[in-house]
């Protein structure tokens, strides 16, 4: 694989959630993830893109292919300047939500991916980074 896919997309409408899914599907497929992993990665992206739109109004999704010890992976970052998350641990609990959702977004996305990091400051915004590695 010579060039690793990467790009960014602004999320500011419901349509952008669909665009985010398509971009991530294309990148993950290009990195040779199988259909189940592609579905996991795209679903996690859909949850987080919707969080950005619902809680912050707008934000940016970035995606990039990774290489580590000869193995490929994908990294997704969702950055917004919304209200931030007061209690990240609480937000990670299934069923907890401050909005109209099911409260599955963050904990669900973590289960679907291999790694997740959340940086959030109240009043400043939230950045969520997700990674998934290709199994050989």
């Amino acid at each position: 694989m010579s060039t690793l896919p990467q790009g960014k997309l602004r999320i500011s409408s419901e349509d952008d959630i669909v665009m985010a899914r398509r971009a991530v599907r294309e990148a993950a497929t290009h990195l040779s993830f199988g259909v189940t992993d592609v579905t996991r990665i795209v679903t996690a992206a859909s949850e987080l893109a919707r969080n950005v739109f619902l809680y912050a109004g707008s934000g940016v999704m970035r995606w990039s292919g990774l290489e580590r010890n000869g193995g490929a992976g994908i990294e997704l970052t969702f950055e917004d300047h919304g209200p931030g998350i007061a209690d990240v641990e609480q937000a990670m609990q299934a069923g907890y939500t401050t909005g109209a959702g099911l409260g599955l977004g963050l904990p669900g996305a973590k289960r679907l991916m291999d790694e997740m990091e959340i940086r959030s400051k109240v009043g400043d915004g939230t950045t969520v980074t997700l990674r998934k590695w290709l199994r050989r």
Partner: protein, 125 residues
């Protein structure tokens, strides 16, 4: 722009709805509206939601489908979700999604069997 057309057909006593592969939230909500209006207009006894083309079932989509089946139940109809792909079933389970008490079937054929077996019992005077 990303809005996709919805296929909805009444066959005998059943309303058959085919979900598009990658609908935006607006389309998912519109499907719920149209299904409920079609239930009133065509008075079918059952509803089959064919999701065999659906590649991504996220929490919003799953919640709307479950809600729709509950609404249809309140109106007196039965819903069967048909044709979930294996990759979607794996992902939905890991995400923590269920479909509540909604009936499911491997495909549309089985869904129709399920409805035709289930329906006569509901028609007892």
């Amino acid at each position: 722009m990303t809005n996709q057309s919805i296929s909805m057909v009444r066959v005998r006593e059943t309303l058959m709805v085919t979900m598009p592969a990658d609908p935006d939230d607006g389309t998912v909500t519109a499907i719920q509206d149209e299904v409920l209006r079609a239930m009133e207009r065509y008075r079918p006894k059952g509803l089959v939601l064919d999701i065999s083309a659906v590649e991504t079932l996220d929490s919003f989509f799953a919640r709307t489908v479950t809600e729709t089946s509950r609404m249809v139940a309140l109106m007196g109809g039965r819903t069967v979700i048909a044709g979930m792909r294996p990759s979607v079933a794996i992902t939905a389970t890991q995400l923590g999604l269920g479909l509540g008490n909604t009936l499911t079937a491997l495909n549309v054929d089985r869904a129709l069997d399920l409805l035709s077996n289930a329906l006569p019992r509901r028609q007892r005077p």
